[in-house]
């Protein structure tokens, strides 16, 4: 009952008043949710947006450019995840994302002398495939492409890599752990 009221409040606020987000049918929001920035957020049907098991209860969906998009498919489970987008982040159907961070940019220049002048950061798109799993405290940086059925073990960090279908990855920087695909 409370969750349905909360979902209704977020739908009224972000979809009809501010026109930043589009929530699909049957999506339930169970925690505090924050959508900021000039871009757009599209969430599919029957998703679950919930808090972390140990009390970290914010989902943040930030877009920093006008063309930036965060697209989330159907039946996705999101738990206290932090998104930050300059270009586009896509999460496909049936994925599960724990208390992780997903960014598609560096946000600042590496060279200290150019940090407030040069903003060519080389942004790249991020795609997370169907029914893949991103563990707790993970970080997927710019250029990450996870295929279908990829498992990302907790506290691993990945950037500018393409992981083929059905693999398990772990570590910082992340490496392929073992192949679980049958053929």
């Amino acid at each position: 009952m409370i969750n349905q009221l909360r979902t209704l409040y977020y739908k009224m606020k972000y979809q009809f008043l501010l026109k930043k987000a589009a929530l699909g049918k049957g999506t339930i929001i169970k925690c505090k949710c924050d959508i900021k920035g000039p871009g757009k957020v599209i969430i599919g049907e029957n998703c679950l947006i919930a808090a972390d098991p140990w009390g970290d209860e914010y989902v943040t969906l930030f877009t920093h450019r006008r063309h930036a998009r965060i697209i989330i498919g159907d039946r996705v489970v999101i738990r206290a995840t932090r998104f930050g987008s300059h270009l586009s982040i896509t999460v496909q159907d049936d994925a599960i994302i724990e208390n992780a961070s997903i960014y598609d940019s560096d946000f600042h220049n590496i060279d200290a002398t150019k940090r407030d002048k040069d903003f060519n950061l080389g942004d790249r798109k991020v795609i997370i495939g169907q029914s893949s799993y991103v563990g707790c405290e993970c970080l997927a940086s710019k250029g990450t492409v996870l295929g279908n059925n990829v498992t990302m073990l907790p506290a691993s960090v990945i950037g500018t890599k393409i992981i083929p279908e059905g693999n398990t990855i772990s570590g910082n920087p992340a490496r392929i752990h073992k192949s679980t695909s049958t053929d």
Binding site: R82, I110, L139, S141, V157, N172, P173
Partner: protein, 204 residues
């Protein structure tokens, strides 16, 4: 630089992104209120001029905290920045022009952060264990478990990075997101990535 040039620069900056003017003024007011509160209740904490607080900010414990001028404090993905000191001798020094977004600092010995640092939700701990109130923090415990951290100027660290005890980092370094450094020294302009962190290149 004369005063009129400074004013011109600020007006140009405000023209380039007008939606930042109101938060800037509000953060200046909030920072001023915070400095006045600290002056009244905690004289061991000194804060420099034009301190900007864009969010709540926590300073706890009996130790010294010295913050330079033009420092900005902000949330980073809704984490509140906080500094905790554990003994009377412990000392946190943050120099001019730093930006602290969601930084969590726990200090037993001493921690120094250089000029123009850019820290995003980083955890800095200078001891093996974060002390509980039931521990006795004598000199032997400090010598065994803690050692000071020194960070140079123009430092930038990504989200979820960890800086643990005995780290010494030079000027203009970059620490990648999710990296972890402990008990090592790194030269100027090094690009650090991984857990444990290693140097993979230079920033310039």
């Amino acid at each position: 630089m004369s005063l009129s040039e400074k004013l011109k620069e600020k007006i140009n900056h405000a023209r380039s992104d007008p939606h930042e003017i109101l938060p800037y003024i509000l953060s200046l007011i909030r920072g001023k209120l915070f400095t006045l509160k600290m002056k009244a209740f905690a004289p061991r904490i000194s804060i420099g001029s034009s301190f900007r607080a864009r969010s709540a900010f926590r300073i706890k414990g009996p130790g010294k905290v010295i913050i330079g001028s033009n420092v900005t404090v902000d949330l980073s993905f809704l984490r509140i920045p906080s500094i905790i000191t554990h003994t009377k001798e412990s000392c946190v020094i943050i120099k001019d022009g730093c930006y602290l977004g969601g930084v969590r600092i726990s200090c037993v010995g001493s921690i120094t952060i250089g000029e123009e640092g850019l820290l995003g939700s980083t955890t800095i701990i200078d001891s093996d264990i974060i002390p509980t109130p039931y521990m006795t923090l004598d000199d032997q415990w400090i010598a065994q478990h803690a050692s000071p951290i020194e960070i140079g100027s123009h430092f930038w660290s990504g989200t979820n990075a960890f800086i643990l005890k005995g780290t010494k980092i030079g000027d203009e370094c970059v620490l990648g997101a999710g990296a972890m450094v402990s008990e090592k020294t790194f030269p100027d302009r090094s690009l650090l990535i991984g857990n444990p962190a290693r140097k993979i290149g230079s920033t310039r």
